[in-house]
């Protein structure tokens, strides 16, 4: 019976509840999306960090075999009148490991930009080095490799091995150069984003609660007549309070579910369309959305209950 009365009441007042529900659902969606986006940023930043490329340069001891990474063998040779560093490596694997490197031209011999500028070499021009013939592709890496000429081949006696690893610390103490210059900036960025999104979620939650309470406050006087009639028909104040609470619990459940659905859809749109990544699952968002919806509607219902208790039945029927 309680459910029938409450659902009839909601249907009757749909015109008023629709804008209230839309407001709370959108606010909850903003709140949930902020939380999900905050969590998803870790994945986005880690993806972008992939562009950093090799983060460990291991210098193997004589005779040491390294079965990972891209081995590079370096030796001095002559190119025309100049002496250059010739590196032999699997160029495909080298470029795949370092997606940030820029290669200009279709050639098969990678000539570092410093060498190319020094010797006046241009892209796609023919080149012969150490008996290897090919076409020039200019490499701009912003690393020492800009001073190298790199040819595709097997590095039988590697001078260095380039590695990309999630745990560069394991190479500490070995003869290795660990490159993690942007790691500190990354953690600083993630911490700032996490705190910013937390504040966005908090401000959205407070704003949602404040808006709902005030909307309830505007509307509360309108319902006095209904409560008066219920009272005149013999309903106890506690029964009326139960009606109001049930009505708002139903509304809060409805808006929390829709708010969560919308926050997932929105965070998907935000993260997938703007940052081209999948949003992370966040149980925090579920708690925040349900908690805020419940808090908002419990507070709103208490406004109605307080308003009802302030007036006598006669006043309420009169609508005063």
């Amino acid at each position: 019976m309680l459910f029938r009365v409450v659902s009839a009441s909601i249907r009757h007042r749909l015109g008023l509840y629709v804008p209230m529900l839309i407001t709370i659902i959108i606010s909850l969606a903003l709140l949930g999306a902020a939380e999900i986006v905050g969590v998803s940023f870790k994945g986005i930043v880690n993806r972008e960090m992939e562009k950093y490329g090799a983060n460990v340069i291991l210098i193997p001891e004589k005779g040491e075999v390294v079965n990972e990474g891209v081995p590079v063998q370096v030796r001095n040779t002559r190119l025309g009148d100049a002496e250059v560093n010739l590196a032999m490596a699997n160029t495909g694997a080298l470029l795949a490991m370092n997606p940030g490197w820029l290669v200009k031209g279709e050639g098969d011999v990678l000539v570092g930009s410093s060498v190319a500028a020094q010797l006046g070499l241009t892209r796609d021009s023919p080149i012969e080095i150490d008996g290897i013939q090919g076409k020039v592709a200019i490499l701009e890496s912003g690393t020492e490799f800009d001073a190298f000429v790199i040819v595709n081949g097997e590095a039988a006696q590697p001078s260095m091995v380039l590695l990309k690893t999630a745990d560069p610390a394991q190479y500490k103490g070995k003869n290795a150069i660990i490159l993690e210059e942007i790691t500190r900036a990354k953690y600083g960025f993630l911490e700032s984003i996490r705190r910013l999104m937390l504040y966005v979620a908090l401000i959205s939650a407070l704003s949602a609660i404040a808006v709902i309470i005030n909307l309830a406050r505007i509307d509360a006087g309108e319902r006095q007549k209904e409560f008066g009639i219920l009272g005149a028909l013999g309903a106890l104040p506690s029964t009326i309070a139960r009606f109001i609470l049930a009505e708002f619990l139903l509304l809060s459940g409805f808006s929390a579910v829709l708010g969560l659905v919308f926050s997932m859809a929105l965070s998907w749109a935000l993260v997938a369309l703007t940052a081209k990544a999948w949003p992370a699952l966040s149980f925090g968002a579920v708690w925040y959305v349900f908690g805020t919806a419940l808090a908002s509607f419990v507070l709103a219902s208490s406004i109605y209950i307080m308003e009802f208790r302030r007036h006598s039945i006669v006043e309420e029927i009169r609508g005063e």
């Binding site: 500190r184 700032s192 404040a210």
Partner: protein, 406 residues
């Protein structure tokens, strides 16, 4: 007429003070949400970009050719902040570096001469430039911007030393106190850094080997990618202007080359690619969050006004019964809602000022100022939304007077 409308609106607000205050608070909260979050999004993007730009992302080296090598000097470092450099404001820091081999505790050690934190005057402006001004590098032994003894050394994190180092460079031995330890996460962790003047005294070397530059860059788009891959030769005049006037890494490198012709400018792509990717991703997300915040605020204001107008139907019915026209009733509502919006705009300004300041101080340790245009827009938003909401609600005023009064 206007005076009468205002008098009636103010009287109505006083009679139904709770309802009026609730409407004003709803509008104020929604507007404050918009101003606060929009200001945070707008400023956070640049602040986060600044945070990511605390390490060198470009290196200047003397240009080499088969016949000669050019020469870089400290004047070239200062020139990066001079008026002749178009992107001087995007140069966040620069440090000259000269290399030498040295010995420390009988072992070979890499030595570099540099500015630690040098005050440089350029075109009447004063800047602090140097190694210790790269905020993305971790310093131990003192804060960023704190004084550093010129006669001390800064050691990289991989150099094991106590409070002082006995350094031999070019056959001359000197003892230097250690002022700071620098953790860069790169090759520099193996270096011992001397003040450039001391380095010159020890080595007799005057020219620079490198200049490290930290620049604030914009993520590249199709235009910048074209410039990187094929150069700017194929650009039209308009395309070139658009590229030149945007702080892409390639455009900044180009203007540095214009300013310091003897330099070969190398963009540290492993750094810039990551910086660009993260800045681009966060820009998109912030823009989308702003749109969502705008929708939230507008919906809240709309809902508040719809409920306010519905709650006033009985009074409007009485006014209609004693002869008020529909236009008169509409104007009455517009004035009341306008009055509430006015009060809300003032409250929203104060509320958002406090919120923006406290959140920005907490997250970025810097107080953001709410953008002026944004404040004006946010103050106007309640009025505009009110007007639109009331136009929608206008048809509600056609209700039968008898029905309404019942």
């Amino acid at each position: 007429m206007i005076g009468f409308l205002f008098r009636t609106a103010i009287k109505s607000a006083f009679i139904q003070k709770y309802r009026f205050v609730s409407l004003a608070v709803t509008i104020a909260v929604a507007s404050a949400l918009l101003i606060t979050l929009a200001t945070l999004y707008l400023n956070a993007e640049s602040q986060l970009a600044l945070g990511l730009s605390g390490i060198p992302n470009m290196v200047l080296e003397p240009q080499k050719s088969v016949v000669a090598t050019s020469r870089l000097t400290t004047d070239d470092v200062a020139a990066l902040k001079s008026r002749k450099h178009f992107w001087r404001n995007n140069i966040l820091n620069a440090a000259p570096v000269a290399f030498a081999e040295g010995q420390f505790d009988g072992k070979p050690v890499k030595v570099a001469g540099t500015w630690f934190d040098k005050q440089v005057s350029v075109d009447g402006e004063s800047y602090n430039l140097g190694l210790l001004r790269f905020k993305g590098w971790e310093q131990k032994g003192g804060p960023i911007g704190g004084p550093v003894d010129r006669n001390a050394v800064v050691i990289g994190a991989n150099v094991a030393a106590g409070d002082s180092v006995r350094l031999t460079v070019n056959g001359t031995q000197r003892v230097f106190p250690v002022a700071r330890t620098l953790k860069t996460g790169s090759y520099w962790d193996d270096y011992v850094f001397l003040d450039l003047d001391n380095f010159r005294e020890l080595t007799g070397k005057d020219a620079l080997d490198q200049v490290l530059v930290g620049a604030l860059i914009k993520p590249k788009d199709k235009l910048a990618t074209r410039a990187e891959l094929y150069g700017t030769e194929g650009f039209t005049e308009a395309e070139f202007q658009a590229w030149y006037c945007s702080p892409y890494a390639s455009a900044i490198a180009y203007t540095i080359k214009e300013t310091v012709p003897p330099a070969e400018v190398k963009v540290l792509r492993r750094v810039t690619e990551v910086q660009e990717g993260i800045i681009q991703a966060s820009s998109g997300v912030f823009m989308a969050l702003f749109v969502l915040t705008l929708i939230t605020a507008v919906t809240a204001i709309f809902a508040g006004e719809k409920m306010y107008a519905s709650a006033k139907m009985r009074e409007l019915g009485i006014m209609a019964a004693i002869g008020a026209s529909r236009q008169r009733l509409f104007l009455q509502l517009v004035t009341e809602v306008g009055l509430a919006s006015l009060v809300a705009a003032a409250v929203a300004y104060l509320l958002s000022w406090g919120l923006v300041r406290s959140v920005s101080l907490s997250v970025f340790t810097i107080g953001f100022q709410a953008n002026g245009i944004l404040i004006a827009a946010s103050a106007l938003t309640p009025f505009l939304v009110s007007l639109v909401a009331l136009l929608f609600l206008r048809k509600g005023l056609n209700k039968n007077v008898v029905e309404v009064l019942r």
